[in-house]
Symmetry: C2
Subunit: 716 residues, 2 copies
């Protein structure tokens, strides 16, 4: 094995007090960079050892003294009280009741009160301002309608930075609660710039400032009852960017005022999984611009000191979507993404930024995100690492990043030599794959897939957070399956489709539940969208619908694309209608039925679609010829080696590509990527056992024997 | 045993050629009436044997010669073509494609054509009349929008009476297809009156004319493809009452015109299970008035000849709902209902008419409704009869009818002596129960239950047809369970509730799916309804919600009564919200979890409701204290002895009634009714095995041993 695969592109978390371990593992894993982590420090011995140095900064969090002096510089949010039923014409509501008092503190300041709202939730109307008063944490309502429910929407300070709060409450930390500053506050912003300036001066050995991350955390609302601690958690909502200053600035810029209800939204808040209101879209654009402007100032300070600025895409990331309008203009030198899954790799790899780096899992921590042990009694970090690597490797084989690395407490690896060996092997395999990419892209079928949903490119690959946070949505399963397939993938909004974006697309996928952002909700009321997709399929394209694709009420079918799919869903009005009895037809590709659903309300529209799978006599997967193209329906999709293989074969069938053109194996567990420039086929065994497989190639079949999890480079 | 229980109140289907059998079974079953059936005749020997005689007439069906001479006197309906996608700006649609040509024939007459409509189903707009032409069974459209779907709604003649069509196609009959006349056609109406007049003269021995039934069949649309023969079947829709004459008369009376789309309704038709439009309600009232007027004329003719007029509530029953505004005024002397279930017994028993009669199942026919053998090889009619009797007996014990009987071909009972014995025993038990009722009503808990839904009293007890036709709806299971419980039951519309109908109600039940007629759909947008129910529970009432009770979109909760229930359903926008972790609490009554659902999207609103049952960590049944009352939620309900018992105990718990007050047994399979006037307790063993049970009474427990299916009268 060439020595060049043993060094470079690897970021190691160093740890003061474990200098020898740090240097040993740096050598073993071929690190060129050493970083600190939240909770660890680097000693001089490490810093001076000849490695490039990353230093982690959470810019808004390390300033409790300033926050104490300027409590109005802290961040805020809107909250809504629990609803209370009026038994007479007056009512007293305690807005904060049920919320975690260590996270939130009422903001009843003069600039905040105009943004408070009392709502009659039964009548869906705001109670006039003159009918309520506030004093001592309580709101008193008069002139209520008996038996109606009322709520109070209010502003409050967030007095505990949420990641710190999470670590405290989960790991029983006892250190001081860290607060967070709002860069929109002029004094705070001046302070933060000066603080960064000073920091750069004081840390001459740092080569890369690793921003973890920017200003506003994803929304995470805690309750005071341990039976329901996490009242709300949305990885892509904007509630935590709110303040009277922000709202006033928005009003000045956009010419209309936002209200509490624009955020509270009938107590549901503005969940990323649902289509946004126009006001939310405007507000997102407003915040994204602000975040980018402020981020650029920080990056410029870092650059001025001869350092690079990398940004970590997690935690306080809100407003800096890598596929947003402003991201490329901020001037970041690198984007770092922690990865459990293949889709996260693709998300990072395709962002417009010079350096792309993955932080692998498991994090060097006693427990993982789900609370199970990793580097502790009962944990098996090597096994965890191989699982995540299996997800990530297939994505890397399609589109590579520049660097990989780890994070956490390095000393925790002591006693887990299998983990250390696993990382060594992954680093080697990563470098070999990276080299192949540097000579030219891997072979991709002439199958160009467009996933269409409300957010389009902005939320390419991801929905809102990690896989396990969004795994109730079919689309994340689709995205994960696609992340390692030899097809071109892009993400389009419905507007993109209407504006002609299907001109170089072969297959469209729409996967979601009725009314959600992934299916599309009211976007499907656009006749233009339906016309364009109908034309697209009739002329030879394919439309794959999963779960409740194109669903919206008010039309003669529930799925607007029912005429293309040949299947629709009854929402009650068709319970007296007959159902077509259609026998199951053999599928023209390997079927994986295990991830399909069992929706009893599906029905064939005209009896022409081929039923590929059924449950209790109800079709769950269909293939329908429409014009020169196809409609494919699946009642659900759960990612697995077999379902991924089915999706691949389906895509190839729909576009007329043969397996041998793409050097595919005959096994769902053995995935391949062919690099024509080097005539090298990367063969990945996704099983933790030795495996044999036959690779179909244009020059005939090739048999390979692979070790467990092996990455084999085969010269063709 | 008193001989008086061996005779009377029984209608036997006689059969010419089987005179001895007829008289033998008349004696065995204690018949006082002999009837003919569809397909049988009575001979002089039978008619003169001293029994009262019923003769069956299907008034609109026995006139093929007249129909041939006056084809425009036949009945009609609206149909809608299959939707067709336009690939360019013109399109040809064959309206009749896919429909059964033996049932339907296009009506392109000058009075029909103005009612045809061409629709752009993509844009939800009607194509202007000048953009389409009709010729030779085809409609040609111009100026289409490419890639839109179009349909043609049209009038057609129904040229085969649907019950005859069903018997033909199911039993391979080869006789002439029977046609049906529309009494709205003046010539047909004059003819029918004269025909009935003549018939009465020619049948002097007939005591009771058994009308089977009136004019308009329930809607049953056949397709031409055997894979989907029954395209649509709704037992309570009004489509088959339509004609240009009816539509014109409606316009003249109501001042606005109905269109095809009022019936076609986006190709869904107006399913009884969905809330009606205002136009449908008006049209129903219009038809009900017409049917009652015409029925009264027929009844008067029958009365003039000294005969009684009974009406059978099935088949061509549309417009004569027994709980409709006009039913009592028609002057019927009896209502006959065929019964599989307890709810059908209650439906009949409570109608405002002098005589109530049940026609038991199985019908004396080789096969049953579901197509399985009854009086044929492989059939077990005695077993079937006992099953239906078990359902009906418990309802009879609550509210009795005047008569029972059978129908069909009597000779088929030869070789089934167990069936004949079973009927004999049931007739005896029926007469004993009837006698008890004649001395005073059975004891009823001070628990007054109101089932609330869109149709209210009009559809008391039934939804739309038999149990097996509507068993996907939770409410029919509830109704069936209630039909034999010692509680008062009434059916209220939402308007009734708003107008104060809860003043003498203890428990309200709302059971259905979001948007359907049983849950209520948009009716729940009424604040007044929510206020009234909230007040009702707060002051001590109970609200039982099943499946998606009070569900409507546009509010802060999906269930409008979520504040009372303590549970709600997430429709997607709350996927980022935390869920209360609530351990399961012991229920204050015997739980039956088997009929509950497994809805993963339910969530506790405030963590206060007691979870009585859960599935995969999600509550499926809850009990919530609200003010002085309760909210109870069940995610589904399937009728069974155990679930029925649970419902009873729940109702008693909610209203503070003790089991011993009602003389209840300790077994779900042993039901009781106490008749205070006679101090007699009717104890029914619902098992086909011998059983022991303990009866709780105010005077202490009583132990009883019962034979299989026994009806025991215990003197207290």
């Amino acid at each position: 094995m060439d020595q060049k695969y043993h060094q470079g592109g690897f970021t190691l978390p160093g740890e003061a007090g474990y200098e020898q371990l740090t240097l040993e593992l740096a050598k073993k894993w071929g690190a060129d960079v050493i970083r600190d982590s939240d909770g660890t420090k680097l000693s001089d011995e490490i810093v001076k050892a000849g490695y490039s140095i990353y230093s982690t900064i959470c810019i808004i969090r390390q300033h409790n003294a300033f926050a104490a002096q300027h409590p109005d510089s802290q961040q805020q949010t809107f909250l809504c009280s629990q609803p209370v039923v009026a038994c007479g014409d007056t009512l007293v509501i305690e807005p904060m009741k049920g919320y975690f008092a260590e996270q939130f503190q009422l903001n009843d300041s003069p600039d905040a009160m105009p943004y408070w709202q009392v709502y009659d939730r039964t009548a869906n109307t705001e109670l006039p301002r003159e009918q309520w008063t506030y004093a001592d944490g309580k709101v008193t309502l008069t002139g209520c309608t008996p038996w109606h429910e009322y709520t109070v929407s209010f502003l409050c300070w967030r007095i505990w930075e949420e990641i710190n709060m999470y670590n405290h409450t989960t790991n029983h930390w006892t250190s001081e609660h860290l607060r967070q500053l709002d860069p929109r506050h002029p004094a705070a912003w001046a302070y933060l710039q000066q603080w960064l300036e000073n920091w750069c001066v004081e840390n001459p050995d740092t080569n890369v400032v690793r921003l973890t991350s920017l200003f506003y955390n994803f929304v995470w609302i805690f309750g005071d009852d341990l039976r329901n601690r996490s009242l709300y958690c949305d990885w892509a909502s904007y509630d935590f960017t709110v303040s009277p200053a922000a709202l006033n600035a928005f009003r000045d810029e956009y010419g209309y005022a936002l209200t509490a209800e624009d955020f509270i939204n009938g107590r549901k808040l503005q969940v990323t999984h649902m289509p946004p209101t126009r006001a939310k879209l405007d507000y997102m654009a407003f915040i994204q611009k602000f975040v980018a402007e402020k981020a650029k100032v920080l990056v410029d300070i870092i650059h001025k000191h001869g350092k690079l600025a990398y940004v970590f895409y997690d935690d306080s990331w809100v407003g800096m979507e890598p596929y947003g309008e402003h991201f490329a203009k901020v001037g970041f030198d690198g984007l770092i993404k922690c990865v459990f899954s293949g889709f996260e790799c693709r998300l990072c790899a395709n962002a417009e930024v010079p350096t792309h780096e993955l932080r692998f899992h498991p994090y060097l921590f006693p427990v993982g995100l789900g609370g199970l042990p990793t580097f502790a009694e009962g944990g098996d970090p090597a096994k965890d690492a191989w699982q995540y690597w299996r997800n990530v490797r297939r994505a890397l084989a399609r589109q590579c990043v520049d660097r990989i690395g780890l994070g956490g407490y390095l000393h925790l690896t002591i006693g887990f030599p299998e983990f250390n060996d696993a990382i060594e092997q992954m680093a080697i395999d990563f470098r070999r794959i990276k080299e192949l990419h540097s000579h030219g892209a891997p072979l991709c079928g002439k199958c160009r897939v467009a996933v269409i949903h409300t957010w389009g490119k902005l939320r390419s690959w991801t929905l809102s957070g990690h896989f396990h946070e969004t795994d109730k949505h079919a689309l994340i399963h689709i995205n994960e399956a696609l992340s390692g397939l030899p097809v071109e993938v892009r993400y389009l909004s419905f507007e993109d489709v209407e504006n002609g974006a299907l001109k170089d697309v072969d297959v469209v996928i729409n996967a979601g539940c009725a009314g959600d952002a992934w299916s599309g909700g009211d976007a499907w009321k656009s006749d233009k969208l339906v016309e364009e997709l109908t034309r697209f399929v009739h002329e030879g394209g394919a439309f794959i619908g999963v779960k409740e694709p194109s669903a919206v009420s008010g039309y003669h079918t529930h799925f607007r694309m029912a005429h293309v799919l040949g299947i629709d869903k009854d929402t009650g009005a068709r319970i007296c209608h007959g159902r077509w009895q259609q026998p199951v037809s053999p599928a023209p590709f390997a079927l994986c039925e295990s991830g399909l659903g069992s929706d009893a309300s599906l029905y064939l529209t005209d009896g022409n679609a081929a039923v590929l799978s059924e449950k209790n006599g109800v079709p769950q997967m269909t293939l329908n010829r429409f014009g020169k193209g196809y409609g494919v329906y699946m009642s659900d999709f759960k990612v697995s080696p077999e379902s991924t293989r089915m999706l691949l074969e389906m895509l190839l069938h729909l576009t007329g590509v043969e397996a041998k053109e793409l050097y595919l194996s005959d096994s769902a567990c053995v995935e391949t990527s062919y690099f024509p420039a080097d005539h090298v086929l990367v063969v990945c065994n996704n099983r933790e056992e030795d495996t044999e497989a036959v690779i179909h190639t244009p020059a005939g079949d090739v048999k390979v024997s692979l070790k467990a999890m092996e990455t084999r480079m085969v010269e063709m």
